[in-house]
Amino acid sequence: MMDYSFDLTTAWALLLGFVVFVYVVLDGFDLGIGILYPFFRKKEDRDLMMNSVAPVWDGNETWLVLGGGGLFAAFPLAYALILPALYAPIIAMLLALVFRGVAFEFRWRTERWRAVWDAGFIAGSSVATFAQGVALGALLQGITVDEAARSYAGGWFDWLSPFSILTGLALMAGYCLLGATWLVMKTTGDLQARMQRLAWIFGVATIGFIGAVSLWTPFLQDGYYHRWFEGWNILLAVAVGGAVLAVGAAMFWSLRLREHESLPFLLALALFGLSFVGLGICMWPYIVPTEITVWEAAAPRKSQVFMLVGASVLIPIILAYTAYSYWVFRGKIDPESGYH
């Protein structure tokens, strides 16, 4: 039953959802670029791909810190239950991000070991993405909790299941789509044509995965089934499903255009947005499915207010100077100029 009272907890849940969405789309394309590296063997191509995100990757990754930090601050009980439950995927993600992050600097410092750091870039991007997808799937499956003890009560491999592996692979396809469509915007000529082809392939894969995950999810928990398929809710399923297909079709069409090269990327973002809406419909109002609601996990009011005051001013400012930074580095990456 949806609760429409607009209290601080709901505000924080929406804000946190927004932060996670921004992280997924921003770091999605730069992780995607790492996963796409094996398709491009030439050093010049790889240099160009990395340079297209070199000035912005750190800011993108910072949204992950805000996501974790925001969960910690606004829903500390949820943070304390979810993170130990997803211990292995989270540790794997953190270590993979180490390899991915240092590759941005290390691969320029050596001729001999560049292949090693490239491999680290690829492995780091891939493992981090897969781990994030697995974590999402594990969360949706539900986390076993001892409510009285306020502690995780499940096993050590609960996160590992066919469903979470599916969501892991799905996210990899999705990030490859974001990476490829980003590079369609930033590259020209033969490289761009190859990116358009890859965007097509990963677009099909992503929509396929969205379908598979969407059909499987309602059967994970009774609550999910009810939200999507019972009574009038079936209209919701039709609406979201239809929107996914429509956006997908528009995206494939836009890949064939000569101009408006940003359309494929924006439509890929829209696909992610629709997936988020679907995720929200499944989870609300649970933050730890299906045991703990947002209200049960929420921080005390004094904490919520203190943070919201600052966040409501700071987040728009952050978005503004982030947009400025992207604008400074707008346009195609020039293979001749490099970064001297």
């Binding site: 800011g59 969960l71 991000l97 390899f99």
Partner: protein
């Protein structure tokens, strides 16, 4: 009992946190100092148009970029580790600490990350004013970051401004009291100053290295060595003073920690001695082979030779920190601090004699002292964090009760993964930084993205370049 290789889950979690945070802290420590140094260099260049400053800026920018990246990736590990390995602490202290960390991300991390791209890659894309602004924002972002995290850590040491809810959570009652807790100003001043001092010695060490290699006429080398030695001379004494103030504050709020630092197992009602060295014996509760100066500890801590100072005999056993670790880490830190002071004073002497760039023994000392700041900050952090034990929130929550319900084997596995990967990755990073440092700052200094390889001469005469690289022109018959 659930153990892995003989260690229980709490101990493994502590080792993992300690290891990852020690590695992590090295990088922001240098980044804070370097970011400010780079901002200063860029500002000097804009003001004086002296090419040496631009050379130095580009030179240190490459090193800064590597250091910053390592700080970022090791930092994300910390923000998630509170939840993965210290979930009880996260649940209980989250309402107080969580918002402070969120503000750190909102006001500092985004600021640094947002402008870093322009600072590193954008000099030719935005005007000089905007580029300078970006450099300043990165420097300010690093300092703001230190401020918030030190407020968090200080609250854990001297908590105030909270109440305890029925569900066991710490609930903030007065945010100003929480943020500006009693130890915060001292720890902030001490840590920020440590950061600048650490960077000064690294810069000074690199300058000294190149001076020893004969590059005594290279303007970039001379400038960086001189700037670093000014910092050593002025900031090292300041840091010793700040440390003293910090110690007196700690005596008031965390007496057991000071007792451990001093090695005072027993109370001294009539002036406590300063124990310089000795071997603490936790079982027998005494310091063996102690070399001590009578009454000096009371003089330093209470400014009165005969003031009584309590010892660990007044503290229940279960509330005592491990003395030996704190005792030695404190001495390492203080020893290095005084060595830094020595180098600073020596450099002043050399400077007034007009021999700053020729005093080879000074240069050797500066080279040896190059990494000393890093050792000192780690030693200092060990002193303060191990000295806080057995509490994670001093007096309010014990470390042993704050960890996640994880099997020892799970924590053991992640600990091993962190140790191996950190040594490989950060070892490589340090190696690349050392490689960059081994080159002197050159005319036509390369940008961040240029390939390693033969140096481009970019329109200067071969003679000038050779002289700056340390060739003896006379001997080569030029």
């Amino acid at each position: 009992m659930d153990t892995f290789l003989g260690l229980d889950a709490v101990m493994l979690a502590r080792m993992q946190f300690g290891f990852t945070v020690a590695f992590h802290f090295i990088f922001p420590s240098v980044s804070i100092g370097l970011a400010s140094y780079l901002a200063v260099l860029n500002a000097m260049y804009l003001r004086t148009r002296d090419e040496a400053y631009l050379r130095l800026f580009k030179y240190w920018l490459k090193i800064f970029a590597i250091c910053f990246a390592m700080g970022v990736v090791s930092g994300i590990v910390m923000s998630y580790q509170f939840g993965t390995n210290w979930s009880v602490f996260s649940d209980k202290a989250g309402p107080v600490i969580g918002p402070l960390m969120a503000y750190e991300v909102l006001t500092a991390f985004f600021l640094e990350a947002g402008f870093l791209g322009i600072m590193i890659f954008g000099r030719d894309k935005v005007g000089p004013g905007l580029h300078m602004f970006a450099c300043a924002m990165v420097a300010i972002g690093t300092a703001i970051s230190a401020t918030w995290i030190l407020s968090v850590n200080s609250w854990m040491q001297t908590p105030q401004g909270y109440s305890i809810a029925e569900n066991g959570q710490f609930v903030p009652e007065d945010w100003l009291a929480v943020i500006f807790n009693p130890s915060f100003p001292y720890r902030l001043a001490h840590t920020l100053t440590a950061s600048y001092l650490t960077t000064a010695f690294i810069v000074g060490g690199v300058g000294a290295y190149h001076l020893l290699r004969g590059r005594t006429t290279n303007p970039g080398v001379r400038t960086m060595f001189s700037m670093a030695m000014w910092m050593a001379a002025l900031i090292a004494p300041l840091q010793i003073f700040l440390g003293d103030m910090h110690g007196i504050n700690t005596l008031e709020h965390q007496p057991a920690k000071v007792m451990a630092m001093e090695g005072h197992f027993e109370s001294h009602p009539d002036g406590a001695p300063l124990i310089l060295f000795g071997l603490p014996d936790q079982e027998a509760k005494t310091v063996r082979y102690a070399i001590e100066i009578p009454k000096l500890s009371s003089l330093i801590l209470k400014h009165d030779l005969n003031a009584p100072l309590d010892g660990l005999d007044t503290i229940p056993d279960e509330d005592e920190p491990p003395l030996a670790v704190v005792f030695w880490s404190f001495r390492v830190m203080v020893g290095i601090g005084f060595a830094m002071l020595g180098v600073g004073m020596w450099s002043l002497l050399a400077r007034f004699r007009g021999r700053l760039y020729d005093a080879r023994w000074l240069h050797r000392a500066a080279l040896v002292m190059a990494p000393s700041g890093l050792v000192a900050v780690i030693a200092g952090w060990i002193t303060t964090e191990v000295g806080r034990q057995p509490f994670v929130v001093y007096g309010a929550l014990r470390t042993a009760e704050a960890h996640s319900p994880l099997a020892a084997s799970a924590v053991g596995a992640s600990l091993i993964a962190f140790v191996v990967i950190y040594f490989v990755i950060f070892g490589a990073g340090v190696a690349y930084i050392l490689k960059l440092m081994a080159h002197a700052p050159e005319l036509g200094e390369r940008g961040v993205r240029e390939e390693p390889g033969p140096i481009r001469t970019a329109g200067i005469t071969p003679q000038q370049q050779m002289r700056e690289s340390g060739h003896d022109m006379g001997a080569e018959g030029a």
